[in-house]
């Protein structure tokens, strides 16, 4: 069974440029999460989807970040424009049940903003 798939694994951009990350969760997992992980820190939730509905986006900086999960399967996280402080690993995770049970994380997308 395929795990959570994320792309790209690495992205280097200059500040003020846009960037997008893609995530395909495990088949059958209705809940999808985007987390931000800074170096030496734990994952911090950006947004949680139940199917195609964003049920918690309270930690998403909406001035520059956006996300979508149009068909309730794969998801895209976008940053426009990127800032130096956005350099981090963006982790996607999915779970069968919402907020209980195991989270399955993807390999992450490491963003470097120059």
């Amino acid at each position: 069974e395929a795990g959570v798939v994320q792309s790209p694994r690495y992205k280097i951009i200059e500040k003020k440029q846009p960037v997008a990350f893609w995530c395909n969760p495990i088949s059958g997992h209705n809940t999808l999460y985007w987390y931000l992980q800074n170096l030496g820190q734990g994952p911090e939730l950006l947004i949680r989807y139940e199917n195609e509905e964003a049920v918690d986006d309270s930690q998403l900086p909406k001035d520059r970040f956006s996300a979508e999960r149009l068909k309730g399967v794969d998801s895209t996280l976008k940053i426009q424009p990127a800032e130096l402080g956005d350099s981090a690993v963006y982790l996607c995770a999915s779970s069968f049940l919402s907020n209980t049970g195991e989270l399955f994380f993807g390999e992450g997308s490491r963003l470097t903003v120059l």
Binding site: G40, G42, L45, R48, N99, T100
Partner: protein
Amino acid sequence: GQQVMQIPQYQHVQEGEDFTTYCNSSTTLSNIQWYKQRPGGHPVFLIQLVKSGEVKKQKRLTFQFGEAKKNSSLHITATQTTDVGTYFCAGSDGGSQGNLIFGKGTKLSVKP
């Protein structure tokens, strides 16, 4: 808001020594999970604790959930070099959002 704190931040041990990391929440938790992240890797689920005072074991790993459901610990007996990584606890208060809040992790290094 809910906060989850972990100590220590770093732990260096000699192979064969024991290791313990502690997790404390500012609020009562409905459940707590533990994850391991190898260097350069992604968090991988280890276990979930739900009941007050619960103790679970996985080979050399022992997980405890406090009676008040506000703290937890992970203990590794006789560490091996394969135990290297960062161990995160993540707690949920089961509120309206009920999101998992991750601690900052304890980074374990094991000297052979």
